[in-house]
């Protein structure tokens, strides 16, 4: 059965050895048994037969399987099952907006197949999605939005639709969840193609609107003694004088400390009100020095807590030792 007559441009079926899958989808058990079904199903995006992997992501979870093929997953750097970014666990739309990526890959039909086969396959550089190339605020946004821990609730069985209608005859042995659907009705209408291409994704829209409204929350901190601002993104070109120039208009600047090594700077105001005024104005206008966008936040209080603790600890130790000596 030679492939001599196989058309090189014909869409090849995909065969792979191991799935590209995120941590949450794999589940909490380090020992997972997976079945491999070559050409088991069609990819939900490109409708090509591909290798389907199926596994149980933990007790009381539903079986999960790969939904999109590896080529589609690699093109967008997403998990094959949940179609969320591999690095941040965020929807494609959110990640692309944050990193300002506009995919040139065509979306439909033959054009897409051609692209996937010829261009994407040959040139697999994922540096597309390398976060270090993005602007610092965007990276920050991503970091803030991203989940730190795996979210295993996603792997739970789906809600029993019969139960919702009150008609579940299976009762106790029903493997689906007997709960009423909570949460937003709009969030429930999701489409895998929309989520993959980053159009019209309700979850992504919600996340993005949350980011936009919160801005960089330059609200005054509760601790009234803080009157200093913390600035990041301070490149070598930006000097103390530059910063002083910008910030002196809001009030008397007690001191400016610039640490180029860690790309940050502190601006200490003499009065708290000056600091607040500066923060408010920066929040409205954004801070740009020498064409560089800088991030401004409130400074953290000087650490006095730990020192007193160690002193306390020292005293405790001493008294403990004294006690022992007295006993002896």
């Amino acid at each position: 059965m030679s492939n001599q007559k196989a058309d090189p441009n014909k869409q090849q079926w995909e065969d792979s050895e191991f799935p590209i899958v995120c941590e949450t989808c794999l589940g909490d058990n380090p020992y997972v048994r997976m079945t491999k079904d070559s050409f088991g199903k069609e990819c939900k995006i490109c409708s090509r037969p591909f290798t389907v992997f199926r596994w149980l992501p933990g007790t009381n979870m539903r079986y999960k399987k790969t939904e999109i093929c590896q080529t589609c997953a690699k093109l967008k750097n997403v998990c094959q099952t949940c179609v969320l970014d591999l690095q941040y666990g965020l929807p494609v739309q959110v990640r692309d907006e944050a990193l300002n990526i506009k995919s040139e890959a065509p979306n439909s039909d033959i054009n897409r197949q051609y692209y996937a086969q010829n261009i994407a396959g040959k040139d697999t550089d994922i540096s597309h999605y390398d976060a270090s190339k993005a602007a610092p605020e965007n990276r920050d946004v991503l970091r803030r939005l991203a989940r730190n821990e795996p979210y295993y609730k996603r792997n739970r069985p789906h809600i029993c639709s019969f139960f919702v209608k009150g008609e579940c005859n299976r009762g106790a042995e029903c493997p689906f969840r007997h709960e009423l659907p909570g949460g937003d009705a709009e969030l429930a209408q999701q489409n895998i193609k929309d989520r993959y291409y980053g159009n019209n994704d309700p979850v992504a829209n919600k996340m993005l609107s949350r980011v936009r409204t919160s801005g960089s929350s330059l609200a005054p901190p509760q601790d009234k003694t803080i009157s200093s601002l913390f600035i990041t993104g301070v490149e070598d070109e930006i000097t103390e004088t530059d910063i002083r120039e910008v910030f002196c208009t809001y009030g008397q600047v007690k001191s400016v400390v610039v640490v180029h090594r860690s790309k940050c700077a502190f601006v200490n105001y003499a009065t708290r009100s000056a600091a607040e005024l500066a923060a408010q104005n920066i929040a409205d206008r954004g801070l740009n020095i020498k064409n560089r966008a800088l991030r401004v936040a409130w400074g953290k209080p000087r650490p006095q807590g730990p020192r007193s603790d160690t002193r306390k600890q020292g005293k405790l130790l001493l008294s403990f030792n004294e006690g022992i000596y007295r006993m002896i």
Binding site: R33, T35, T59, N60, N169, G171, A172, E173
Partner: protein
């Protein structure tokens, strides 16, 4: 093919007439469930009653011979030969740990993805959920000897 009695077939051994009504009952039940409609049931669920009656019938004969010793060897062999009981299933029941085995499908590792036995073979103490399991092969809810 047998089970049809004509003038030419040999008479069953004595004692058969005593158990015949029960065997007839089993046969009738089997016919009944064979004709049940499939509405409202899952595809796999339709076959469960068949396995159930099969188990019950074999169990009855096994009990009569091995436990109560109420029938003769001759009659027992006759019943097995005429497919009133499943010899292979009874062979398993004689082994320790398989005394309550539901059906032969549930211990066949070739039928599972990972070469294991069916979930109904897991003792309830190991299941840890309080969740009811109906195995997909025969609808068994747990046939481990401990349960």
């Amino acid at each position: 093919m047998p089970k049809i009695r004509t003038q030419r077939t040999k008479r069953p051994p004595e004692g058969f007439d005593d158990i015949e009504p029960t065997l007839e009952e089993f046969a009738r039940k089997m016919k009944e469930i064979e004709n049940e409609p499939h509405e409202g049931k899952r595809i796999v669920e339709g076959a469960w009653p068949v396995f159930r009656i099969h188990h019950q019938r074999s169990r009855y004969i096994y009990d009569l011979y091995y436990k109560r010793k109420a029938i003769s060897r001759e009659l027992y062999d006759y019943l097995i030969k005429n497919k009133y009981a499943d010899a292979n299933l009874i062979a398993k029941w004689k082994k320790p740990g398989f005394e309550k085995l539901c059906c032969l499908r549930c211990i066949q590792p070739r039928d599972t993805n990972f070469g294991t036995t069916c979930v109904c073979r897991v003792p309830k103490t190991r299941l840890q959920e309080g969740k009811v399991i109906e195995c997909v092969h025969c609808g068994c809810r747990g046939c481990a000897s401990g349960d």
